[in-house]
Each structure stands twice: as structure tokens, then as C-alpha cells.
Symmetry: C2
């Protein structure tokens, strides 16, 4: 039989949302953008697929950066609850929820106060850098609705 390439395969370590041979990374370099208590794990980074498949975990009360960019996100919630801002809408977050984040759409994911929230997020390997809102853009977002203003409060 012709030699078969071995599967690169990683075992999960139970339900701790950690994987053998997958490092738990900083979400972003500290101080580079506002966020709170987020880790990043790159589950797959496949040249053939052209995408990175990541798992992010937001600690209880934490949140990702409020940002937008040309590249899109496909998100599947794996654990926990919270709220997401996508565009000018606020959505509750529950396990297995799916989110599409279109190009240049403000978005932020927040974990509930009492439990971590983890999600899978798919992006193109080559992608533009996220943009942070200016003070004016933040003010505009807050004006979108009282729900958005409350979401962006802290």
C-alpha cells in the first residue's frame, strides 16, 4: 500500500476546553486594544483551507474588543452565556448559537457575570487588522438605542 500521511490529531482534555498540543494564548497583546479576560487557542491553521479555526474563552464578566474589519467572522458558541453586539443589535448568547459578522460591522462578545463563555471563530488566514471605534463612532453607536448604550456602558 502507498504510504499514508499520518493524521495530525490532537486529543481534547475532557471538558476543560483545552487541547493537547494547542497552546493557550493571549487574546491580543496587552494594551494593544481594550478587552478583558480573554484567551485564544488556534485549533486549526490549515494552509489548504486558507482559514484559522480558533477557540476563544471569555472569563465571567469579561469581553472581547469592540472592533470592526473587512474580514468576516463565523462564530459558534460552545459554552456559557452572555450578550453580543453585532452591528447595532444586541443578542443573547447561549450554547450552539451561530453568529455571522459581516464586513465592517462593529461587534463585541461579553460573558455573563457568573460563568465563562467560549466560542469557536473562523477567519481567513490573511485578513486586515481590526479597527477600533473613534470617540465619535462610539458616541454614534451609543445613540443607536438604549440597549446598545447599556451594553457599551463599561
Amino acid at each position: 500500500m502507498s504510504p499514508q500521511p499520518r493524521a495530525r490529531r490532537f486529543r481534547s482534555s475532557g471538558t476543560a476546553y483545552r487541547w493537547d498540543a494547542v497552546d493557550v494564548l493571549e487574546y491580543k497583546a496587552e494594551g494593544s486594544a481594550p478587552f478583558k479576560d480573554v484567551t485564544r487557542q488556534v485549533l486549526f491553521d490549515e494552509p489548504e483551507l486558507g482559514v484559522q479555526w480558533r477557540y476563544f474563552e471569555v472569563a465571567a464578566g469579561g469581553h472581547t474588543t469592540l472592533e470592526r474589519h473587512e474580514h468576516v467572522h463565523a462564530v459558534l458558541i460552545l459554552r456559557g452565556r452572555g450578550e453580543a453586539l453585532v452591528g447595532t443589535e444586541i443578542y443573547p448568547i447561549a450554547p450552539f448559537d451561530l453568529f455571522s459578522v459581516p464586513p465592517m460591522t462593529w461587534h463585541q462578545f461579553r460573558a455573563a457575570a457568573d460563568e465563562p463563555m467560549g466560542f469557536l471563530c473562523l477567519v481567513h488566514s490573511e485578513r486586515d487588522r481590526p479597527q477600533l471605534p473613534t470617540d465619535d463612532e462610539l458616541a454614534e453607536l451609543r445613540d443607536a438605542s438604549t440597549k446598545v448604550a447599556a451594553f457599551l456602558k463599561d
Copy 2:
């Protein structure tokens, strides 16, 4: 504020591994290839990402097609247990396990006899058609080890 595109967003329906506005499809056309009790749901089909993100569910005792192809798979197990053949290795399957299936590598996923097994599978939107093993290739695979022979028994 400039108009924001609305997020295309689908709510999950609890823990039933079904999603609003995501159809439960046949795995493949019946009779086109050997498989048993598998459904397919396309969670994301994003032109911008160039990939399809699918959820497959194999009923208790069921299995996917034994096949190979040039395109790669990135797989994350969401629920259940079972066994996977990748190349000439047999791996146990447990929730959150990760599998990479390299190009032209025989692979098959089997659910345990007593519970369904569900997994996320990422593929390129444009991809080659799967190849089924010839009788000779199947015999070669069976010769790889007694474990492989046992896996391919039925």
C-alpha cells in the same frame, strides 16, 4: 451613522443539535455511496471565507462513507463517542477531539452502538469529489492491521 448590514444570525434550538433556519439534509444521495444513518447541516456557507462549515450527526451504530479526496477536513467532535479511521490508524472519538484529515487519506467516522455522534467538519467550498475504495484498496487497508480489519468488518 452609516447603515450597518444586519448580522445573519441563527439561534440554536437548545441542545438538540438543530438550528433555526438550518435544514437537516441527507448526508449524501441514498445509494451514491455506502453510509449509515448520517445527517448533514450546513451551518455556514460563506463566500468570503471560501469554506463550508457543516455539522454531521451519525446515529448510534451508524457510520460515514469510507472515502478519500484531495481536499482536507478539519473536524471537531461535538457530541458522542465512537471510532475514527484516518489513514491506517484507528482513534477513539470523544467530545471536543480534533482531527485533521490530510489529502488522499482514507477516513471513516463511526458512532458507538448506544449514542449518536456529532461533529463539525470544515471543507473548502470548491472541492474534488470523494473517491471510494476499490476491492483491492479495501483489501490493502484491511491488511494494514487487525484493528483496521476489525473496524472495517461490517
